[in-house]
Amino acid sequence: MTMVESAREAFGRTLVELARQNRDIVVLDADLASSTRVVYFAQEFPERFFQMGVAEQNMMGVAAGMALMGKIPFVSTFGVFASRRACDQVAISIAHCRSNVKIVGAYSGIVSGNNGATHQAVEDVAIMRGIPGMVVVDPADDQEMEQAMRAIVEYRGPVYLRVTRDPWPRISPEGYQFVLGKALQVKAGADVTLIGSGMMTSQCVEAAHLLHGEGIQARVLHIATIKPIDVEAIVQAARETKGIVTAENHNIYGGLGSAVAEVLAEHAPAPMVRIGLCDCYGECGTNAELLQKYSMSPRHIADAAHAVLQKSRSR
């Protein structure tokens, strides 16, 4: 797998490209533009860039008001502040009003540039997924970020977009066309299915390589749109393989794993193990250290696949 530019770079660059084509796009920032890369937009379109200061609740409401006047606001801050801090504003001013606001949760999950627990969005997907009408997208790589952004500008309604800070291997194929709500099969396999979202799909791909060496053929399914989720792809995976492992850069409660479990429980019960933060806060560390310490590495995902197959045999 080739290392590519980070999702945030792709985000910042694509935002400028989209804004050149669409004059309705405006950006609101809560004093993090250099970190989130919306600074590129600010430099090119100062008249469409609104610095709202360290005041996320107001920023969400202002974005909602702009959307009601026909703008397409991208509100950008860290995922923790977009979700935890401004939750009620997102729910009422944005989602209840079905305002056409794109909420950008940067530095998503535990890989937050060594900022530690306060800056790690480990419940943002759960919060946003629970808000009626909110679309939740967690792209895996630079190419998918670019594609997903085109799709969410086309889509009329509130969207929460997760953006990771650092580069992760590209998992989307050449010429990939992102479709909102559709999963991507990254690798075929008939024994077990590894389902990832965001950067964790690349960890699933590595886990599949490990499993291959251990005589197990793992399918890898990438779910970028966590809500609405691709029910069909999950049901198909449950029927065609012996079980499911989910891997998410998030608490295992309320995020991808929960969403997949809901689909399985209602449509195609199957053995399952969830990989992610196990109901704890993270801490400072390098990405590799964090994935290791919180049992989210490719080895942990592969071990979970073995556990799923064991569950399947004992059914």
Binding site: N58, A64, G65, A67, S93
Partner: protein, 278 residues
């Protein structure tokens, strides 16, 4: 400054009186709602919808219309009665207030009612939305003015002050805020629950222009709001001193009537005091 003729004032006062009759009937029939804050805001809403704002009830989605945001969303019954009286929807709708399948939710839903610009009721959020509308209108060079009515209890929310700070920062002058300063909230007088005074000084210190008026004097409301609209280079707040439950003697100044519906007997008294057709 426009001085209104005696007839104009009489017309507006008579309209406000009819709206108050709708408010007490609506809330009493529904058995739910917020009479205190709905009655205190009626003269302000009447001035806006019957004299000040550029609107067309037949075209509620007319792009060039002025926008009104009821940030204190629990004042919905007052706003619905005003919109109905102004012709945005039939007065009969008021009978459905707060009932299942009704467009008239106890807090306003923008998707259900013509003339409601934004869903509100989670306190403290409306001013931010109004600011976003004003900024967007200014970007597009549109002569749209945004009016936002906030509550005094609501002003305890921190978001109000975030919005105040940013509106002043961006020198937004196509936004006028009106404070329905009735000094009473659900659990009692503000001075006991959580004092917001000296509220005029607070807004001034946030770099807003401030005007204080009697919020039940039609001429004062119109003079102040029209002057606020003309003032340039900074946002403007009109602090309207009002009486909670205005017009109904047993409700006036009473926190008990923040969110309680009058029974049949109480309704009859309220209608009589307001001079409504029984």
């Amino acid at each position: 400054m426009t001085l209104l003729s005696k007839q104009q004032i009489q017309y507006l006062e008579e309209t406000a009186r009819r709206i108050r009759c709708h408010v007490v009937r609506t809330i009493s029939e529904a058995g739910v709602g917020h009479p205190g804050g709905s009655l205190s805001e009626v003269d302000i809403l009447t001035a806006l919808y019957f004299h000040i704002m550029k609107i067309d009830p037949k075209r509620p989605d007319w792009e060039e219309r002025d926008r009104f945001v009821l940030s204190k969303g629990h004042g919905a019954a007052g706003l619905y009665a005003t919109l109905a009286e102004r012709g945005f929807f039939p007065v009969e709708w008021l009978k459905t207030f707060g009932r299942i399948d009704s467009p008239l939710q106890v807090h306003p839903d923008m998707h259900l009612v013509p003339g409601i610009e934004v869903s509100t009721g989670a306190l403290g959020q409306g001013l931010s939305v109004a600011l976003g509308m004003a900024l967007a209108a200014r970007m597009d060079g549109k002569g749209i003015h945004v009016y936002c009515l906030i509550g005094d209890g609501e002003s305890q929310e921190g978001q109000v002050w975030e919005a105040a700070e940013s509106a002043a920062h961006y020198k937004v002058d196509n936004l006028t805020v009106i404070l329905d300063y009735n000094r009473v909230q659900l659990m009692g007088p503000l001075k006991e629950v959580m004092e917001i005074a000296p509220v005029a000084d607070k807004w001034r210190s946030f770099n807003w222009a401030v005007t204080e008026i009697d919020g039940h004097d039609m001429q004062q409301i119109i003079t102040a709001v029209e002057a606020a609209k003309q003032s340039k280079g900074q946002p403007h707040i009109v602090i309207a001193h009002t009486i909670k439950g205005k017009g109904v003697s047993y409700m006036e100044g009473q926190s008990a009537w923040h969110g309680k519906a009058p029974n049949q007997e109480q309704l009859a008294q309220a209608l009589a005091e307001l001079g409504c057709k029984q």
